[in-house]
Symmetry: C2
Subunit: 454 residues, 2 copies
């Protein structure tokens, strides 16, 4: 007999019911981050609160690392401020700021009131930055020493602070002059092998640094071009403010790509998990859908102008959704390639004509192929070659138009600082629908005797 | 007067024309990886060959790091095998295997014939693995020493091999027993601070390792749960084969997400840059489009069954593309959320009913809202409340259907080992189109007297 394995969240529920915190913590520590996340998302809000209240703050913080920021904020907002504060205190400062930014003001102040003064100051400093600049991505856990320090004193200090040291996998220490001005960097390894009387000034290398307003894209390029695992962040006077880890930058880039994909598919805000409240999920999806339904009605109103033609050749109604859908498909392929080339940095505003030129060739080839295909099908099916000609030409021309719009619109939107992930799709489909319907029905009107004369 | 800045590729062209390799290499070394890539993609094939022939192999290898694998393979295939081999030899072994895998057999053998025997053996070993398992992601540059070695000998050996050492930012050395069986790991730092007579056996820590067949998803989980920067790869007898870097795993995950997005938008194979040959780009896009046009015709043939109804109420033709498009939008939102939850590991095959339950609620709420909206618009526009009712009901019911299909189909496809990124969209739109057309026109047929009676 096959024994059905019990779901992880059912086991968690049992541990909750038994009230055995030790067993609960032990079970959770055996789950991977992904498994813990899956289990948590399946529990209801009350159960989640109970779990976090019974977990050690360290292991709760470990789990939070895997929860997308917005969901993490929602969860923390539901916990008692004291429990939330104890969990947040165990996170590295860059993650602290990310989840705290998701809270509303009241929740935030409640939670901050339970945190250490030093953590609160750091968190407020980090939250003052946008998410996608060096200041918003940096962490405050770094080691800096005046350049007059001796290697041996640094080693002693590091040994005393071993716990922090482990936490951050620190590889570098930063060397400053009076007022915290960044002077250079030294690897832990360099300090270990240095003569113990050596001063940091003798060991340091010049440090690459970024200012706090450096954008995510530039940080990505920086780490692509420099093989260091963290870069110091400085203010305009070159005072060290924090450290951005390579990993934080790549994580942020991946999150942005994920969000762009969701936005391009109509999830406003770029974030949804099915564990979120129905009202939030519904509202986000609906705000996009309701704009689209209006754009759709505007586009389809073109059809209403040709009711006489349609009455005369009713079979044209079959081809209206096909033209609309196929043009959308062709255009979205071009949108997807442009979005990718934009994110790889291969195309910029100046390359608009290049993009269009490259798309138009594909549009002509694919438009001809698709137009021919549908023309033959229409001809064979309805026994009217003229119908095939009208449908095929409309699809062929509209395909050229669709790829031209699909390729260039994301580039234009980006240069206008409108989010191309959100707006490209609706703009594309509205224009191609209108043009496609007009092409099909307009040509059909002109050729009406040929179409009905069978 | 404003001086127009010259494009990077124009500057490269000039350097080529002048035949000044030094100036060319200097200029390229000042460009970021992203800028070099953008410039290269804008040169034609002959110019690219000339550039790579004149660049130092080291800097060419640096540029190749930023070129997506498939394009990199195309480029290498066009270079002389000798030049290609000299560039590839400068890449780390994991990248070597990735680009070599993109070549066809003849190109591959030509290039391998110019490479060192040792590199060739390593490359063949790595290429024998799939791209998405530990064996295919590992690199062969790692340091392992027998456990009987003394710390001082290890340090001396490392110093002799400093160049390799810098290349790989090695943090760990692996300790083996006879036959290369992995016994443990030691950090460089541990070795430096160890008494010089100490043997590795005294310093080593137990090593976490993965077998060569470990899948990418499991590797991602591994690195999520372990804060090390590289993991040793072993065979089934625990012999060390190589090392997978955290960065290689995260890069592979990001590439897969990118490819999934492109595939979901109809770029077959998940890879297109506009610098690729037109024939390749056209073929990939067309293979998806031609399947879609056939599915579209099947779906739209439902409309042909209701020609009499359409003739009687010709305005229904306006609403056919709207129903089709809006159902597609609603369904694709659900697809996008499922794809994301699958990639986060939050949902699995067993969660199908959970997904459906969560979607159906959204479908009912959003379907009611959208249905009401379009019903009112149809009513006001055409002055027929029954028309509004028919259109609104069709959209409302079809929205519930669309989110149910959109949410569950990716989960089902994944469990059937069919790529959900490629197949979810076409399956969704075909079914929702057929049902939507049937709902609208079927109900209209039943209520025909009410619709025409105005």
């Amino acid at each position: 007999m096959q024994v059905k394995e019990r779901n992880t969240w059912e086991v968690l529920r049992d541990h909750l019911a038994e009230g055995d915190s030790t067993a609960l913590n032990e079970y959770l520590s055996e789950l991977s981050g992904e498994e813990s996340l899956r289990a948590l998302m399946r529990l209801d809000a009350d159960e989640q609160q109970l779990i976090f209240a019974r977990m050690t703050p360290e292991s709760a913080a470990d789990v939070f690392e895997f929860i997308p920021d917005e969901s993490a904020g929602d969860l923390l907002g539901e916990l008692s401020p004291e429990v939330a504060a104890s969990i947040i205190s165990e996170m590295p400062s860059d993650e602290q700021a990310d989840v705290l930014s998701e809270l509303d003001d009241e929740e935030l102040e409640d939670i901050l009131s339970y945190m250490d003064d030093e953590d609160v100051i750091e968190a407020r400093e980090l939250m003052a930055y946008d998410d996608d600049v060096a200041g918003g991505l940096m962490m405050k856990e770094y080691f800096s020493y005046p350049k007059t320090y001796r290697a041996s004193s640094v080693l002693r200090d590091l040994a005393d602070r071993e716990e922090e040291y482990e936490l951050n996998h620190v590889l570098y220490i930063y060397v400053t002059s009076r007022g915290g001005i960044l002077q250079g960097v030294a690897r832990i390894r360099d300090i270990i092998v240095a003569p113990s009387k050596a001063r940091l000034a003798d060991i340091l290398h010049p440090a690459e640094a970024v200012v706090d307003t450096t954008k995510l894209d530039e940080l990505e390029n920086f780490f692509d071009d420099h093989s260091i695992s963290a870069v110091p962040v400085v203010d305009e006077r070159n005072r060290i403010l924090g450290v951005v880890r390579r990993r934080a930058v790549y994580d942020a880039v991946a999150e942005r790509a994920d969000a762009d994909h969701l936005k391009s598919q109509g999830i406003v805000g770029g974030e949804e998990l099915r564990s979120m409240p129905t009202i939030v999920r519904s509202r986000r999806r609906l705000s996009w859908l309701s704009v689209n339904v209006l754009l759709n009605i505007i586009a389809a109103s073109v059809i209403a102008q040709f009711q006489d033609t349609l009455s005369a050749v009713i079979i044209l109604a079959v081809f209206l959704p096909i033209i609309s859908d196929m043009s959308g498909c062709s255009g979205n392929q071009a949108v997807a390639v442009s979005m990718r080339e934009l994110s790889l940095g291969i195309i910029k505003r100046a390359d608009l004509f290049y993009v269009w030129r490259k798309e138009v060739v594909i549009g002509i080839v694919n438009g001809a192929a698709l137009g021919l295909l549908i023309a033959v099908i229409a001809w064979v099916w309805q026994g009217n070659g003229w119908l095939g000609l009208v449908v095929g030409m409309a699809l062929a021309i509209n395909t050229v138009l669709a790829v031209s719009i699909g390729g260039t619109v994301p580039v234009i939107l980006k240069s206008l600082k409108v989010d191309p992930a959100v707006a490209s799709g609706p703009i594309l489909t509205t224009i191609t629908d209108m043009c496609g319907f007009f092409l099909l029905l307009g040509t059909a009107s002109l050729m009406l005797p040929l179409l009905t004369g069978v």
